[in-house]
Point group: C2
Chain length 338, copies 2
Amino acid sequence: MRIAILAHEKFPHRAKTALGILRYSDDDIVAVLDRDNAGARVSDFVSDVQDAPIGSQMAAIDEPVDALVIGISPIGGAFEESWRDDVRTALERGCDVISGLHYFLADDEEFAALATENDCELRDVRKPPADLTVSEGTAADVDADVILTVGTDCSVGKMTVSMELARAAREAGHDAAVIPTGQTGIMIEGWGNPVDRVVSDFTAGAVEEMIVEKGDEHDYLFVEGQGSIVHPAYSAVTCGILHGAMADRLVLCHDAGREAIHGYESFSLPPISTYVDLYEGLATPVQEASVAAGALNTAGIDDEAVARRELEAYEAELGAPASDVIRFGSDPILEAIL
Amino acid sequence: MRIAILAHEKFPHRAKTALGILRYSDDDIVAVLDRDNAGARVSDFVSDVQDAPIGSQMAAIDEPVDALVIGISPIGGAFEESWRDDVRTALERGCDVISGLHYFLADDEEFAALATENDCELRDVRKPPADLTVSEGTAADVDADVILTVGTDCSVGKMTVSMELARAAREAGHDAAVIPTGQTGIMIEGWGNPVDRVVSDFTAGAVEEMIVEKGDEHDYLFVEGQGSIVHPAYSAVTCGILHGAMADRLVLCHDAGREAIHGYESFSLPPISTYVDLYEGLATPVQEASVAAGALNTAGIDDEAVARRELEAYEAELGAPASDVIRFGSDPILEAIL
């Protein structure tokens, strides 16, 4: 597929979905749309992802495009009216439009009419399928080994770690797949259940359904975790994924230097050993699982020697091997979990 | 209100909503519908609740009825087609129908048409309000002491214990209220958020919103817990309630003799001490809370001396005072938590 990614005024640092797609998608990225950076290229900002020109608007892209992806998500997940021209133009050109916003494009009268008229699809990936239900406790029955990324907080790199580990496992000759649970993962993989948007009673079931579907087709499944088990707002989703996935092994993801819950600064992060005890203790009555490795995000540390020391300290706290999958590669983690 | 309660093939032991209403509602129960027990009376099975005749179907009730309540909830919350005649008859007679099923009666074309035609209401108490959102981590700021019932499994008596403790606290002169989180509690109290039915990201927020609303009006809030922190399907809801409620004290509810998760028999219950460690360990990073008392459901044990021995064993495992609130009263628990 040839795709364009909308990221107006947010590329690259506040466009986590756009960056995730550039980093991991097999699709051909024709252009990124960011009116603030039109004329530049992706590689002017980020070096280790697919390169693409940055354009000002959909109407300025001459090449054929199969789909326009909304690659940013404002707080609240609303649709910004300044994007309407781009979405309209895409639909008029016969492109599908893929969105992870809380605002469903398919419910927008103008877009729905244009999509019908031009025979193209509006894919709202955050709209959960209607046929989800409660977990049956059967995810452990699949042939694949299931590895779940868990975190000390939101936005510590669980999606990135899941993608990198699956890619590294495939490069090492294993048959590995990602089980996507959030909007970016779903856009990259082209399928998946948005577990943070399902009915709370179906949280575990939404994960189980995916694992049961894919679990006999692969040797390893890397389940994208969400939130943190001690998050004041999002722990329910974390807990449901933990029990729905019935993982064999856990990878604890942490952001170096993070001391409090992001956006909930009065809540300090407990010690790493507390996370290990909680995740393992909570998993065990449903399916025994150990924290077999860790992933430390050191992107905020410029000095590589300092990053290395932080990583060693993290490994000591964790009592397991760890790496920064972007900076130091996935091998130490893969050795511990495969 | 004069109400009939549908509980086909499940009364009394698998009809917890029906029993809760019979025990705690101020309404006049005209009949229970259970085709397996038609001709008997509620008092033939349960002695300490409102009595009523048991009928085979809605059409066989001669007395006037204001509302038919669906008093049972199959796993998954589906509507059983064998109940359709009763609901149809109720609507044709002008009765409201109150349901806590996941399947919304208002979305059923036949029922919606009949309700309009006969000017009666279809009340789906499990349909969450549209304005819920994520938790802000503020429930601990209210004046009231917050006491949360947590459980070793579903259907061990959390709702009953919450109701009994609030009632006993009021009788002892305290200003106490229940925070209802499930269909039965909501039906009895006449308000509340159906926490198992909200968007998963809003689970904690749905509890917090109720506590913030009521927390400065009372001295004690008894929050109705749901599920169990080690339940393969429902732990997400349990975890969200634990962190959303930010309780001061926990009461661990258990059903004497229960050895495996109900409906998930391959999952054994861990030791009581494991539950204490998990609930306290998980609560602490958000809001420190201890399991200050226990509630043991001994309804399945006929011999009172045996029940007493089971209770003593439970207290020893728990390391805290416990009672069967129905059989032995609420005082030992109240002394530990108020």
